[in-house]
Symmetry: C2
Subunit: 214 residues, 2 copies
């Protein structure tokens, strides 16, 4: 667990980002902050894998990192260790960015409607792993990506934002995934900016922005 | 059952369109033919309900119509009567346009991969009735419409074309349905034109156009 040192104003809302691998969506959020498109700061990047490449990028950018291995722990034990690391940062939002573990209910309940995930399909279609492959095998002509609030069911919480991506006849899994990923990078930062800086509420399952920016 | 009189060239592929109500997608196909966007002719419009408003529009446009009531018949008996009406037209495609009955396997097998349906969601999301309401209640930000080949499962066959429609915060079922319907009218004619006039094949569940126009 690394120490936390930040020089940003405490008024800027903080994000904790959970990754398991390269964390390209973490980098996209970080880029959006540097560009001024996202008014936030990344308080910490946490990985369950110490070899996650995203940790290297975080350190290069001077962002606090932590590794919380899951091996040998129950989901619940792991959740408590994650909470020990994340809670002190008092994040406005916890953003999953290619985090490949299911979060225990203890963790989800600690941040009600404040955990976000991004998924490479237009949910509710194609939940779970290999969503791009599922979409190709189904033969859809339109797929996309979804930013949603995390609840206790997989890929299920209220939808915050979605972007559509057209499937081409020549697409394979790699080409389709790359085009979706480009949209993810844009959508995630927009959705976080909107959630942080526009009033919103949940009606049923709908996330309604009372002063929508688009 | 009305008589069939057509002055169009027999080389122009014929469509049989099945409706149950106003049949706005039938009218959209007919408009596209009149506009020259769709190189086809409508050989007949068939309804299971004699009060279907689309029948009036068909007659106004000089298109042959037939009513094949389903009341008191098993699905299978009804299918055989439909086949009696439709088979003599030797349609290149059978297009469902708000046809509110499930077709019996006997009917579907008579036109393998030549029956089309249009559904007001991005399938596989929100199958069945009230797809627009289902989408709103789920809280998606992107929905749309799907043209698909009809197989023996509901809203399930290979996807031919899809169009995305953005859900607005202010949308109710009526406003969303209207925006989707506008896309349906465009998409259905494009999909029929493409199926009739471009080589295509089915790989797995994917409809692949070997010489795609877009």
């Amino acid at each position: 667990m690394s120490s936390v040192e930040t020089t940003e104003s405490p008024a800027v809302p903080g994000l904790c980002v959970l990754i398991s691998g390269r964390g390209s969506n973490f980098l996209a959020l970080s880029d959006a902050i540097l560009d001024g498109r996202l008014r936030a700061r990344i308080a910490c990047v946490v990985s369950n894998r110490e070899d996650a490449q995203g940790l290297i990028h975080a350190r290069e950018r001077g962002i606090a990192t932590a590794v919380v291995p899951h091996k040998g722990l129950t989901r619940s034990e792991h959740a408590l260790r994650l909470l020990d690391v994340i809670t002190p940062h008092a994040p406005a939002l916890v953003c999953l960015a290619g985090y490949m573990r299911l979060l225990a209910p203890e963790f989800i309940r600690a941040f009600p409607n404040r955990i976000l995930n991004i998924h490479p399909s237009l949910l509710p279609a194609f939940t779970g792993l290999d969503a791009q492959k599922q979409a190709l095998e189904y033969g859809v002509r339109v797929t996309g990506c979804t930013v949603h609030l995390v609840d206790e069911e997989l890929d299920h919480g209220p939808v915050v934002a979605q972007a559509a991506v057209t499937v081409q006849d020549a697409d394979d899994e790699a080409s389709l995934a790359a085009r979706i990923l480009a949209q993810e990078h844009k959508l995630y930062a927009e959705a976080v900016e909107k959630l942080l800086h526009h009033p919103w509420e949940i009606r049923g399952r709908r996330v309604i922005f009372s002063n929508p920016s688009h």
